[in-house]
């Protein structure tokens, strides 16, 4: 079991309130991703749940029981750190065994669990090496192994992939998602990378300055962002925003349309502009168009085969039913 509830949780560092009163429910077995820009309080929130920071006010419940004042180890949570935080003087085997040793698990059971974790994570051949002799990806797997063997109520991941190179990151992303399907244990995952959030999460919590901006499934956030911040943060490339008379025509202060929901034509369309940089990804091309009439730079996704060049005059037309409308406070209409 791993149901976690935050009730009016507040965190202050001195006079500075980094997390104003916050409520959040995390269901058993869910993969929840906290996402937001740097300094939004997502790591602090995770550390509050872990017990590495004390809450200034409010309650944290794990499986219905008050865990607010429990020590980290008593919460039955396992954490994977950004820096892996392996014990450099211990072998991989001892690293993985450490939480079991602390819990007083008997030796045969330790061996059994280490073997099974090592097998699941492809670490069997490396058990007698030290962390210094492993690559980044292998170290990350050891950190995960150390978390798995405890059979925790929930896993906490603090930006675990940000120290890996791009190719490894995609691989590990799949491995962690696969692990979640296999173990069906609650996982809370912190990242600033919205692609990681979209691809891994059952539920995304978007944070800004300690405030929960929106909670929902990846597609809910993509389809119906509740405000300008979420609209701009989720989706890559970023949503295009337009204010002024085009927005007023839709009875809104600002309208937003995603690059994939704008049609680009060489002959006719709603907005005229000049092609700037085109980013060719092969399957798609992202065209940055400097529009006329003070609307600014817009990004459009077109087919990878489309023939566009720097300086071409083009026309853009948003798909009417995919336009997001926001009021002057930035809230969805």
């Amino acid at each position: 079991m791993g149901k976690i509830s935050l009730k009016q949780v507040v965190k202050k560092f001195g006079e500075v309130e980094v997390i104003p009163p916050l409520d959040l429910e995390i269901e058993d077995g869910e993969f929840v991703v906290f996402v937001g820009p740097s300094g939004c309080g997502k790591s602090t929130l995770l550390r509050l749940i872990a017990g590495l920071e004390d809450v200034s006010d409010g309650r944290i419940e794990i499986d219905g029981k008050d865990a607010t004042d429990l020590a980290p180890a008593e919460r039955r949570l396992a954490m994977v750190f950004q820096s892996y935080a392996l014990y450099p003087h211990m072998t991989v085997r001892k690293n993985i065994a450490f939480p079991l040793k602390m819990a007083g698990v008997d030796h045969a059971e330790q061996e059994r669990r280490i073997a099974s974790a090592a097998k699941a994570l492809n670490l069997t051949d490396y058990l007698d090496r030290r962390p210094g002799q492993l690559s980044g990806g292998q170290r990350q797997r050891v950190a995960i192994g150390r978390a798995i063997v405890r059979e925790p109520a929930a896993f906490l991941f603090d930006e675990p992939l940000s120290n890996l190179d791009a190719a490894l990151r995609v691989g590990m992303r799949l491995e962690i998602t696969e692990l979640h399907h296999r173990l069906a244990t609650t996982m809370i995952y912190v990242t600033h990378d919205q692609v990681e959030a979209m691809t891994m999460a059952d539920k995304i919590v978007v944070l800004r300055a300690g405030v929960v901006e929106q909670v929902g499934s990846p597609l809910e956030l993509y389809r119906t962002p509740q405000n300008l911040f979420v609209a701009g943060f989720i989706g890559s490339p970023k949503m295009n925003f337009v204010t002024g008379k085009d927005a007023a025509a839709h009875d809104a202060h600002t309208i937003g349309v995603r690059p994939e929901h704008v049609k680009l034509s060489k002959d006719t369309g709603h907005w005229a502009g000049t092609v700037g940089v085109s980013e060719h990804l092969g399957s798609d091309t992202f065209v940055h168009v400097e529009t006329e009439g003070g609307l600014g730079l817009m990004t459009v996704r077109v087919d990878g085969e489309m023939d566009v060049h720097h300086g071409d005059r083009v026309f853009l037309t948003p798909e009417e039913d995919k336009i997001h409308r926001f009021d002057e406070k930035g809230q969805r209409l």
Partner: protein
Amino acid sequence: MARRVTTRAKLTNTIIAWFVGLTIFFPILWTFLTSFKTEGDAVAIPPKFLDFHWTLENYIQVNDRSDYLLHFWNSVVISVGSTLIGLAIAIPAAWAMAFVPGKRTKDVLMWMLSTKMMPAVGVLVPIYLMFKNTGLLDTRIGLVIILTLIDLPIIVWMLFTYFKEIPGEILEAARMDGATLRSEILYVLTPMAIPGIASTFLLNVILAWNEAFWTLLLTAANAAPLTAFIASFSAPEGLFYAKLSAASTMAIAPILILGWFSQKQLVRGLTFGAVK
């Protein structure tokens, strides 16, 4: 592009390095050689390098005239004792400053270092009087106390830089893994800190062993360490270079041997933190 290193540049660098190395080592070598010369050969002009009459006479005379073992033992007690007490005080201090720093931690560290910038002679009179009044003059305990106090800033600073290098996340990981404070210190912190503590220990023993200001001024006979032993051969009865050299060689030999065997730790201690 990698920097190109030509054979000529390598050769030049090697020659310069050897030259610098030998220049630094030469006084020690010369002292060593002189200690086997007769007093006549020791002051001969032109100097004799290897073609002199080799003799152990100086060592025998030095041993006859003074109690080498007493001074040696004093040196051991003073350097090891002051270092151990220093470590006992500095480990918790550096620990606290590295892992739970306060607003003024940096200031405290700077202040401690600043005491090392003051010339020792500035406090000679008050300390001498205090030692005289408390009966600490010419006692090992007195020297252990003064050397502990003098070297404490360096010990704290060295340990602080070591502990700083231990990532806080590893300690947090241990806490998440269910380690109590005791097992956190026992299984995680100490094994990671031992190399740092060891090289601090070694370096400070060497510093204390060679300390010659206070050890000379606050001792007479009973507590005099090897520094005083050397000094006793320098002035009173005219200069006897060969005997002085023999005394010097005997005084520095133990610490040289210790340094030789622990050079790996020492170099690590001095360069720690410079490169990841």
